[in-house]
Symmetry: C2
Subunit: 236 residues, 2 copies
DNA sequence: GCCTCTAGTTTGTATGACAATATTAGATGT
DNA sequence: ACATCTAATATTGTCATACAAACTAGAGGC
């Protein structure tokens, strides 16, 4: 996930942003699993930055709902329940069908080409079965759709939702059959976009998200049934 | 807006939260108008807290999109364009029709009573033409709907949108005829909720938000046409 | 009037300090 | 050995400073 570095508008690399990015990655990748406690001092050492910066980064992640405060004021990686995931995907369906409609209507040629390129990378990565890589590329796909939709508000609202399911997607794509299904869905979406057919693109996105939702919710419900751990520790 | 204080789960009032709340109010009320630059040192003095706390508060407001970073890292009160407002209301329509459906299905008796009470206050305040007061109560109405919908995710996504239009609502309700229209719409919503008719409630919410959207967008477009100020200063 | 250089602002970041809680480890009693 | 209470240790929230880098504005020179 290096889109941050592609931005045109510069912001000579703030330490804070770097920290946020690192932490987001650590959470997405599962290095800090859901429920893990994040201790400021440890993060300082791990990231090599001051407490000031770590704390500001945590505040940011907090309002993105990637971490949550425990009752003792501890900061823990957010636990996403099956219910949460279901709602997130419901909302994503609302937002991203709208987004892809606008993408079809408003994107310029470069943006469409870039999206097609990401799609191509997606297809290639699919054959390698590298879930983490795949999830990262998928994120980029959705993000490009959001950007091409040219609505600041849609982007701001939908983007944090993407970050929250990043970690889940990695595991849900491991569901048998989900990969091939996902591939077909992405193909359909891409084709509709290139044909300039907003209705069909939106419908393809909706189908895709509904299927993804089903896979993720199923996985989470299964997990919740088996293990209800009282406490969780951070990865060493 | 004192819901914060009603929470059961205590959090012995953090200085940071206090600062956030104060700043949010200052922005909603227009004390710091859109575009105004927020200087850390001044906020420290105004709020009587350290820079550490101010900065953490600003980070939070930043991810709520109530403030935005200017080109050279200055923090400014977010400017909401007509386009932004239109999108915000579109998204609110998606989210809050869903929310009111769930409210009808899931709220308990106390929550319905509380909503009715807010509605009553709304009606009373309407006759007094106190826009700021009215806007605050309206916010509480929407917020209660979101809470009663019992979806953490819907709440987390929709709530920040409410904060963003708080300031606008004050002025849009001054549009001639908007008040009476709003009253009828709220009545319809409330009636449907009490009748337990989710479809009708959702439709009433949709109509209400579409009308509110039209009023606010019209107002913003008019403003944008007349005044394109190059720079804006904070309220003295 | 216009340009340049200097001095003051403002932000980003780091450090150190300290109170108030939490948590853990130990000491103690049975 | 076990439960319990207590003292040592950790952790978070907050403040005060410090300083470099980027920026702004004003003084002064042309």
């Amino acid at each position: 996930m290096e889109y941050e570095d592609l931005r045109i508008i510069d912001t000579p690399s703030l330490v804070r942003d770097h920290a946020i990015s690192k932490l987001r990655n650590a959470i997405s990748s599962g290095l800090y699993p859901p429920g893990a406690r994040l201790v400021e001092r440890e993060l300082c050492e791990a990231l090599g930055v001051s407490r000031t910066s770590v704390r500001e980064a945590l505040r940011q992640l907090q309002s993105e709902n990637l971490v949550e405060v425990g009752r003792r004021r501890s900061i823990n990686v957010a636990v996403i329940t099956a219910q949460d995931a279901a709602d997130i995907y419901m909302i994503r369906e609302m937002l991203e069908t709208q987004a892809i409609r606008r993408f079809v209507a408003l994107s310029d040629d470069a943006e469409r080409k870039a999206l097609a390129a990401v799609h191509k990378r997606l297809v290639k990565a699919l054959s390698k079965n590298d879930m983490a890589q795949l999830s990262a590329i998928a994120s980029e796909f959705y993000e490009r759709v959001l950007i091409g939709a040219k609505s600041r508000v849609i982007y701001e609202v939908a983007r944090p939702l993407l970050a929250r399911v990043n970690y889940l997607r990695i595991r849900s794509m491991a569901e048998p059959g989900r990969l091939d299904g996902g591939l077909k869905e992405w193909d359909a979406m891409m084709e509709a976009v290139q044909a300039g057919d907003a209705d069909r693109a939106a419908e393809a996105m909706a189908v895709h998200l509904r299927n993804a939702r089903a896979a993720i919710v199923a996985r989470l419900e299964a997990d919740e049934k088996t293990a209800i751990p009282a406490k969780r520790k951070a990865a060493s």
